[in-house]
């Protein structure tokens, strides 16, 4: 019973992080129609920057959240304005744009990852932050795990409220429904698309900061997180924000249960879910 | 025995009946019209006949043979060709290539490349596109792209041609030309089944008209009977 509880809580903690990783990707695809393969690189940049700030300047990872988020937002915004907008203007159809933007994102992945490798090397980095055990529901968990879970939930909720309550958030949702009409209604569509891409990047880098508080980070960690994000997003429904959270928690639970039963098969289980889902319900659980 | 016959043809999307228990027939040599308001299920019915969709119940027979659920390419080879409501040309291929492909693949007897090209020239001439045969299809005007689709469908040597909103988006002159084209096709011995949203265009060319509303057949008869039908008038006025 105690073990079961432990497995469940581990899964939920993992799920919160998975959800946060995926929300940005879902937003980028849902609104800007970009399957951003370089998503994990923004996670990596967040994690590595936090490590660098912590070891060199002893800047707290919590402060790093406030540094990395806006920086990634700006970077993502710029990348969309310079790269993806050009692709969008030139593409004869959405299908062509989706293909081209995915390929461009591949290019971005190689560029960001290798700049990081040149700057920081390939070593696995880590630092210790709040790794004190805490009693939680009768089981021991690292304080950093619980903190990151709390922050992940708070950020996810804040983001959801932002989309639903603010003017900008409503413009984003309008653009996701129907870009052409949103443009007619006075929404500056290029600005909204770039903002979405930037927000996606910011969510990724924030997730990266949180990841670095619990796990070691390295410059080539991006792709594995991209893959997880893609699986979560396909599970929840490509473009659906609540879907990302649902998908994240389901995958987190599946991960911790399978790890408990047969550790070697956790990733295999993820991919089986992914592939079967693509075959029977590619729109995901909450997809349109 | 009619050339094409459907019995109780039904197709749902989600819980919504797009086409519900529709019976229809098309006699050899006829021009039959299929009309109805937006969302009445006209294109869905065409998709069911041409194999793009499979009916959930009901049967479709062509020349007495059950073709329900066959794949589009098989149905095409059996002698049913179609055009699309939103043009679906091969944009980066020339007009000639567009039509030659149909002649090459759409017939039960395989043509050689040379024969296919001759056949394509013939049908491009028939629809009046000989002058632009080398032009990539994406560069043609909408009216010409629609003609190209007709030529492409004809090149598969069909006995039945399904025309899905051939007139939509055309100006009055182009509509008149398209009506002539439909009549010429019939003179070639090809049976024509047309979907039109606009009633006026269809009244002049059809021998018989079927009216769909909310996926169900609500009326059937000569253009005159349809024009006088109270139910049909209500449906169109109520739109």
């Amino acid at each position: 019973m105690k073990i079961l509880l432990e497995v469940l809580i581990t899964g939920l903690l993992m799920g919160g992080l998975y959800a946060l990783i995926s929300v940005g990707l879902s937003l980028q695809y849902g609104v800007a129609r970009i399957l951003n393969i370089s998503h994990g690189e923004f996670i990596m940049l967040g994690g590595m920057t936090t490590w660098a700030l912590y070891t060199a300047l002893h800047i707290s990872p919590l402060l790093a959240l406030a540094i990395c988020g806006p920086l990634a937002l700006g970077l993502g915004y710029l990348i969309h304005r310079t790269l993806f907008k050009r692709l969008l203007d030139r593409a004869p159809s959405f299908a062509v744009f989706e293909g081209n933007s995915m390929l461009a994102a591949f290019g971005l992945m190689f560029i960001l990852q290798n700049i990081a490798l040149i700057a920081w090397g390939a070593e696995i980095r880590g630092y210790s932050y709040l790794s004190i055990p805490v009693h939680f529901l009768g089981t021991l968990f690292g304080a950093n795990r619980l903190l990151t879970f709390g922050i992940a939930l708070a950020i996810g909720l804040a983001f959801y409220l932002f989309l639903n309550l603010t003017r900008t958030g409503k413009a984003i949702r309008a653009a996701a429904q129907d870009p052409a009409t949103a443009g007619l209604m006075g929404v500056n569509i290029n600005n909204v698309l770039a903002l979405c891409f930037g927000l996606g990047a910011a969510m990724a880098s924030v997730a990266g900061v949180l990841i670095s508080m619990c796990y070691p980070v390295h410059a080539s960690m991006g792709l594995e997180y991209t893959v997880i994000a893609i699986i979560v997003v396909v599970l929840g429904g490509l473009g659906s924000i609540p879907g990302s959270f649902l998908g994240g928690f389901i995958l987190g639970l599946v991960g911790s249960i399978v790890t408990f039963l047969e550790p070697g098969l956790a990733l295999v289980a993820y991919y089986i879910i992914f592939i079967v889902l693509l075959l029977i319900r590619p729109t995901g659980l909450l997809g349109r | 025995m009619p050339l094409l016959e459907g019995k109780g043809v039904t197709r749902y999307f989600g819980g919504l009946a797009a086409v519900h228990k529709v019976d229809f027939y098309v006699e050899r040599g006829e021009i039959v019209g299929l009309i109805g308001p937006n969302g009445a299920g006209k294109t869905t019915l065409f998709n069911l006949i041409s194999g793009a969709l499979v009916p959930q119940s009901g049967q479709i027979h062509f020349k007495g043979e059950n073709i329900t659920g066959l794949k589009p390419h098989v149905i095409c080879k059996k002698g049913i060709a179609r055009t699309f409501q939103l043009v679906r040309i091969f944009p980066n291929m020339s007009a000639l290539e567009n039509v030659a492909l149909a002649a090459l693949f759409g017939r039960p007897d395989g043509l050689s490349m040379k024969q296919a090209l001759e056949e394509a020239e013939k049908w491009l001439e028939f629809v009046g596109l000989s002058a632009v045969k080398g032009v990539p299809a994406r560069n043609l005007t909408l009216a010409n792209q629609k003609r190209l689709e007709v030529a492409r469908a004809l090149a598969t040597d069909p006995e039945l041609l399904l025309l899905d909103e051939l007139m939509a988006g055309l100006n009055p002159t182009e509509v008149a030309q398209a009506m002539d084209l439909v009549n010429q096709i019939r003179e070639r011995g090809i049976t024509v089944f047309v979907v039109e949203h606009v009633m006026k265009a269809i009244m002049g060319i059809c021998d018989r008209i079927i009216v769909l509303h909310h996926g169900e057949k609500i009326a059937e008869g000569t253009p005159q009977e349809i024009a006088n039908s109270r139910t049909v008038i209500e449906v169109y006025l109520g739109e």
Binding site: L35, L83, R86, L87, E98, G99, M102, L103, A104, F106, G107, L108, M109, F110, I111, Q113, N114, I115, L117, V227, I230, I231, V234, G264, L267, V268, Y271, I272, F274, I275, L278, L279, P282 | G51, A52, K71, P72, H73, C76, K77, A81, R82, F84, R88, I89, F90, N92, M93, S94, L96, E97, A100, L101, A102, L104, F105, G106, L117, R152, A153
Partner: protein, 316 residues
């Protein structure tokens, strides 16, 4: 449509191809071992890029599965290399990849666009992690040693696969099959309604392209001597095949060959000393290609050539 008119001015292309092939076939007779090894690598990438283009260029489906079939080939060699003669192992690598691709192709018929890309990518990762688990669970080790084959034999086998692939590409492009594949890329729905058996064609061509990837994998495995699932099923091989083919240009078979040759040589120059810079260049070139070279290097060369010749060869 090429109407079979032979333009004597264009005969130099097949002529030059023949000379180059003859030089490549006899390479071990006059070249150093270093050149033979280098050209083996180049040919391997050429095979990956060209076989990717065989299916993906006309149909427009972005497959990220090359690494899966390549890896299947590698493991065919690793498992059967010691028992069976080399040519048989290579053929089996191709055959098993073909069968796997047939299955995958039939399963994914409904998937379009990025969903197809994601599925094929997921496939590579699924096989990798499953195989890793299987190896550790049932064989007790992570990796395997592969039987060693002389460099010249490896080279000649790679060359033979390349020639077969070139021939296949040529025949497909010349035949009605090539036209039908292009019609799928242009508009799949319309293609089906004018009588093209879209599903069968897609599945078979996907599987045919996998033969060459698998064969290339089972050949190169003998040079690597040790493989594990992370080496064999590395998604990078998918990305490379796609990039090289796009960079070279998909309009003509020489495009992917050119793209792969350039990058394989660049890799040789940079990978050991500046691996990160090599991959960085890789990314930059990919973005430049997508942005500014939609027809790739071969399209650019064609454009410049036409301009230089004052438009003698007007666009067909």
């Amino acid at each position: 449509m090429r109407l079979g008119k032979i333009n004597p001015k264009k005969l130099w292309v097949p002529g030059a191809t023949f000379v180059v092939l003859a030089l490549l076939a006899t390479l071990p007779l006059y070249a150093s071992t270093y050149s033979v090894i280098l050209l083996t690598s180049i040919l391997m990438f050429v095979i990956l890029a060209l076989s990717w283009a065989l299916f993906s260029a006309p149909t427009g489906y972005i497959s990220l599965a090359p690494a899966a079939f390549f890896g299947v080939g590698i493991y065919t060699s690793a498992i059967l290399g010691k028992q069976l003669p080399f040519p048989l192992v290579v053929s089996l690598g191709g055959l098993i990849s073909f069968c796997l691709a047939l299955l995958v192709g039939a399963l994914t018929l409904r998937l379009r666009g990025i969903y197809f890309a994601m599925f094929t990518f997921g496939l590579v990762e699924l096989i990798k992690h499953f195989w890793l688990w299987y190896e550790i669970q049932f064989t007790g080790t992570r990796g395997r040693f592969v039987v060693v084959v002389p460099h010249n034999t490896i080279y000649l086998a790679m060359f033979a696969v390349f020639v077969l692939l070139l021939l296949t590409t040529y025949l497909v492009r010349r035949s009605r099959l090539g036209l039908a594949l292009r019609s799928i890329g242009e508009c799949e729905e319309a293609a089906a309604h004018i009588g093209v058996n879209v599903n069968a064609l897609k599945t078979v061509m996907f599987a045919v392209s996998a033969i060459f990837m698998g064969a290339a994998g089972s050949i190169i495995a003998t040079r690597w001597t040790y493989v594990d699932p992370y080496i064999a099923f590395n998604p990078l091989y998918s990305f490379m095949a796609v990039l090289m083919a796009l960079f070279g240009g998909l309009g003509h078979p020489y495009g992917p060959i050119l793209g792969a040759a350039i990058f394989a040589y660049l890799e040789e120059l940079l990978i050991t000393r500046f691996p990160y810079y090599y991959m960085l260049i890789f990314g930059v070139v990919l973005i430049i290609t997508v942005l500014y070279l939609p027809e790739g290097l071969i399209g650019l060369i064609g454009k410049i050539w036409r301009r230089v010749r004052g438009g003698h060869y007007a666009a067909a």
